[in-house]
């Protein structure tokens, strides 16, 4: 049997490995906001993560409001820095019920949280952004400060921002964000759970 033809890749494998090697947790962030275009690329990377049986029971909540980030930090001892954006990965219990996923017994749901987080961290690294994964937070506290509805269970908080001392590239603020594609519209909420990305 002939081997399938190799697919052309826009990413050089050695370069990707180097990116994975150099990625480190960022605990000190600059106060410069991250532009919409980069944030959407990070979010889309999360949306393209593997999902057990393609069930897609997780949702990504983007938080950029400074006051709400500060509140999340207050109930998240694992947040040592003050990023300019957060992505909260939530299990959506309604989506889980529709897919007949037993979240209390099915460990693949945790794996899916991890793959989404890693995709986002790698994409952020490629964009020059800093990230810090956070699991040390009060579930009830994050639910309360972000006013999450009962079906939304916060599982993971990804801190995103420009690393302290790293200035954003010139012209960053003028970049037009790409319109939200199907996946972004389906799986990403902005500021409030249930509010799709525009």
């Amino acid at each position: 049997m002939n081997a399938p033809p190799a697919r052309p890749s826009p990413v050089e494998a050695g370069g990707l490995l180097e990116l994975l090697r150099r990625r480190r947790v960022c605990r000190r962030f600059s106060s410069h906001p991250v532009d919409e275009r980069r944030l959407r690329m990070v979010l889309e990377a999360g949306c393209w993560a593997s999902s057990a049986s393609n069930n897609r029971i997780h949702r990504l909540l983007l938080v950029r409001d400074r006051r709400r980030i500060d509140l999340v930090r207050a109930v998240s001892p694992g947040m040592l820095g003050l990023p300019t954006a957060l992505v909260v990965i939530c299990t959506d219990l309604d989506a889980a019920a529709r897919a007949q996923v037993r979240v209390d017994r099915d460990t693949t749901t945790w794996i899916d949280v991890g793959t989404a987080a890693m995709n986002m961290m790698v994409e952020a690294e490629a964009l020059g952004l800093g990230t810090c994964p956070t699991t040390s937070f009060s579930r009830g506290g994050v639910r309360a400060v972000l006013e999450l509805p009962p079906p939304a269970v916060p599982e993971f908080v990804l801190q995103i921002g420009w690393p302290a001392g790293a200035e954003p590239p010139a012209g960053t603020g003028t970049l037009e964000p790409a319109p939200a594609g199907r996946r972004l519209r389906a799986f990403v909420y902005a500021e409030r759970y249930g509010t799709p990305l525009a």
């Binding site: 207050a74 009060s138 506290g141």
Partner: protein, 104 residues
């Protein structure tokens, strides 16, 4: 108030309380030694809040800076991190003693 006093605003106090209560919740299931980190971090936050509130205390500023620098050793040099815990407690105790002596 003089520079030797500081009044914590309710907002700052609430932030610290939220941090302590959230830490208590997660200490129930995180590795036990993380508890040392949470307390160390809380000490740093309290020191920072007092300094931000106007407390004129260079000694406390240095202690806070040292805690900030050393606490992250938990992730990279655990031996140095654990060596810092008794050092920090000793420095605080010595400061208390000096304060007592100054106060007569």
């Amino acid at each position: 108030m003089s520079g030797s006093e500081a009044r914590l605003e309710r907002k700052a106090a609430y932030r610290l309380l939220a941090h302590l209560l959230a830490s208590a919740e997660i200490c129930a299931f995180e590795p036990g030694f993380y508890g040392t980190f949470r307390l160390l971090d809380a000490a740093s936050r309290l020191a920072g809040a007092l300094l931000e509130a106007g407390l004129d205390d260079p000694w406390l500023g240095r202690l806070r800076d040292d805690i900030e620098a050393k606490k992250v050793l938990l992730m990279s040099d655990r031996e140095a991190y654990f060596a810092f815990l008794p050092e920090a407690a000793r420095r605080m105790a010595e400061r208390l003693r000096e304060e007592g002596e100054e106060g007569g």
